[in-house]
Amino acid sequence: MSATSAPGAVSTAPSKKPADTPPSGTKKARNPKRVLVYVLLSVGLLIMSAPFLWMALSAFKTQQELTASPPVWIPTEWTLDNFRELLDKLDLPLYFMNSVIVAVLVTVSNLVFCSMLGYALAKLNFAGRNKIFGLVLGALMVPGNLMLLPLFVLMSKLQLIDSYAGLVLPFAAGAFGVFLMRQFMQSIPDELLEAARMDGAGEWYIFWRIVMPLVKPALATLSIFTFLGSWNNFVWPLIATNDPDKYTLPVALATFATDPNKAGGSNGMLMAGSLLVVLPVVVLFIALQRHFTQGIATAGMK
């Protein structure tokens, strides 16, 4: 029975640490059910990580080993030729910079604008507030693909095709961010803000100096998701750029991978490219993984 009651203790999140460690050391945890769970999870994890491993190993294989049959699983001589050849053909540093600039601009503007509206919706009592909140909820449901055609025409008219502004503006303030910030800011006690108002603080001061520091965890979550969304975004940058010098990483990689004249048969080069695109986000994710899972859970529960 001890084995079955332990998971219950674990699932009460707040007392996690103390409840978790001592029992697992003392109880006879080696029951078959538990072993089976570990085996299933390990097999699942192996399948989940197989494409990544395959990508990483293939990126370092020679052309010969890439096409060998029977297959060579682990490269016998590790080579950087794929990377060299790729960097020769594809100006990755440029695309990397484009992606970073766009993602940083999108993230900063979301942090500021979404927080501002989030604050107004959570803590200011003004006419039209519920209507605006309704708009935000509605906007959450609208698929991005619906807007592509007129957006392209609009951006052409504004001569923003092939510009950072054209890539950033449509994503500068997302409804998800407003929703997230509003949820967090609602938990700030009204008394705190009233007291600040009593001391003569203006709304901007209250927002910037009192509320924003209190919602740092939410800001962290929002920046991660926004940055990632922008980093991985594909359709809009594909449409809004014609000049290859303005491509973001995914557009450059996709264009390269689908053009038979360029990458054609060289899977080694493509795996090297994919590795370079995926690695930064995976490293970022592992470093910040707590924020990811919390963010998703928070957004989902509300």
Partner: protein
């Protein structure tokens, strides 16, 4: 800033202690009272704080949503990109044409195929992994969670490129594994019957993590006492799962199903990179079809009609799901 906060907190406490909810400084027109004096101030502040978002929303969302609808009733083409107002109204012609367009009907079918098979698989496997992680183990829990979630954060374009190679019939990972046991690999992405299932496999692989995280959060919200009571009453693992876990997870299930369905209905990158919609349009999805009509052939009025059909389908399915899954809770 720190002193400000501390002071504010202090006076907040004092105020809470005295039992008044309205603030004396703003007089009788306390915020919650909603009287004129402070209401005026907050109206201005409220709208000022809302303005940046609203401007961006109006220009880059509200306007395009309406413009797509208007465009779908016109013959908007390449020359109208520079002269949008010259497009001619043609009534429902685009919509009528759509439903006799074999290619569009095929893309509609393919998208439905992707959703109908992909969503239940993603939800089911995500739930299984979440339950395993939540009930069976105490060690390496974070390790597994990170591992199963990792594909979610990766760039779809990059993983589509990787999967294309994984499924390569001569040099791919699957082909290699099959050859180790003496089998030859089918040409997954080159076969009309296997291309779509391959793409579904990749989508499940990539999105399972999102569903898993949602379910873990949902599972942890189930009170321990409920489970223990069931066990005391002699409920087995399966009975506990069916009688407690699934019903109490219903809100999570609803949310996960809706967001996965919306995401899958918009599927674009996977066929764009892996198959370009082929072979013989067997992986052409509505979004890819729309992209091609709109941005390769510049039939933008026609593509707008496609975008709206997809939008209406998405709305309809979302409402239907909300209704179905909600009614069952009674």
């Amino acid at each position: 800033m720190r002193t400000m906060t501390a002071k504010a907190a202090q006076s907040a406490k004092a105020q809470a202690g005295s039992g008044t909810s309205g603030s004396p400084a703003t007089g009788p027109a306390g915020r919650r009272g909603g009287k004129k004096a402070s209401m005026g101030v907050q109206n201005v502040a409220g709208w000022l704080f809302s303005t940046p978002f609203l401007v961006l929303f109006l220009v880059f969302m509200a306007f395009p949503i309406i413009a797509t609808l208007v465009m779908s009733f016109t013959d908007f083409g390449l020359r109208n990109v520079t002269h949008p107002l010259d497009a001619n109204f043609i009534g429902f012609e685009n919509y009528i044409k759509l439903f006799s367009d074999e290619k569009f009907l095929k893309s509609l079918f393919n998208t439905a195929y992707f959703v109908v098979i992909g969503v239940p698989l993603t939800i089911g496997l995500g739930l299984v992994v979440a339950v395993l992680l939540n009930n069976g183990i105490d060690r390496a829990r974070t390790f597994f969670r990170v591992g199963f979630y990792a594909p979610v954060v990766t760039t779809i374009v990059a993983v589509a490129v990787v999967w294309r190679f994984v499924l390569d019939p001569s040099d791919g990972l699957v082909a290699g594994l099959l050859s180790e046991v003496g089998l030859t690999s089918p040409d997954f992405l080159g076969s009309e019957t296997l291309a779509m299932p391959s793409m579904i496999a990749m989508a499940v692989w990539r999105n399972l993590g999102t569903v898993m995280v949602l379910f873990i959060a949902g599972l942890q919200a189930i009170p321990t006492e409920v489970r223990e009571a069931a066990r005391l009453d002699g409920a087995g693992v399966w009975q506990e799962f069916k009688g407690i876990t699934v019903p109490l997870l219903r809100p999570t299930l609803l949310y996960a199903t809706v967001i996965t369905t919306i995401g899958y209905l918009n599927v674009f990158e996977e066929p764009f990179v892996m198959t370009q919609g082929g072979p013989s349009d067997s992986t052409l999805t509505v979004s890819l079809n729309m992209y091609r009509e709109g941005f390769n052939f510049f039939h933008m009025g026609y593509a707008s009609a496609m975008a709206y059909v997809l939008f209406v389908v998405i709305m309809g399915i979302t409402v239907l799901q909300l209704r179905l899954l909600k009614d069952n809770t009674k």
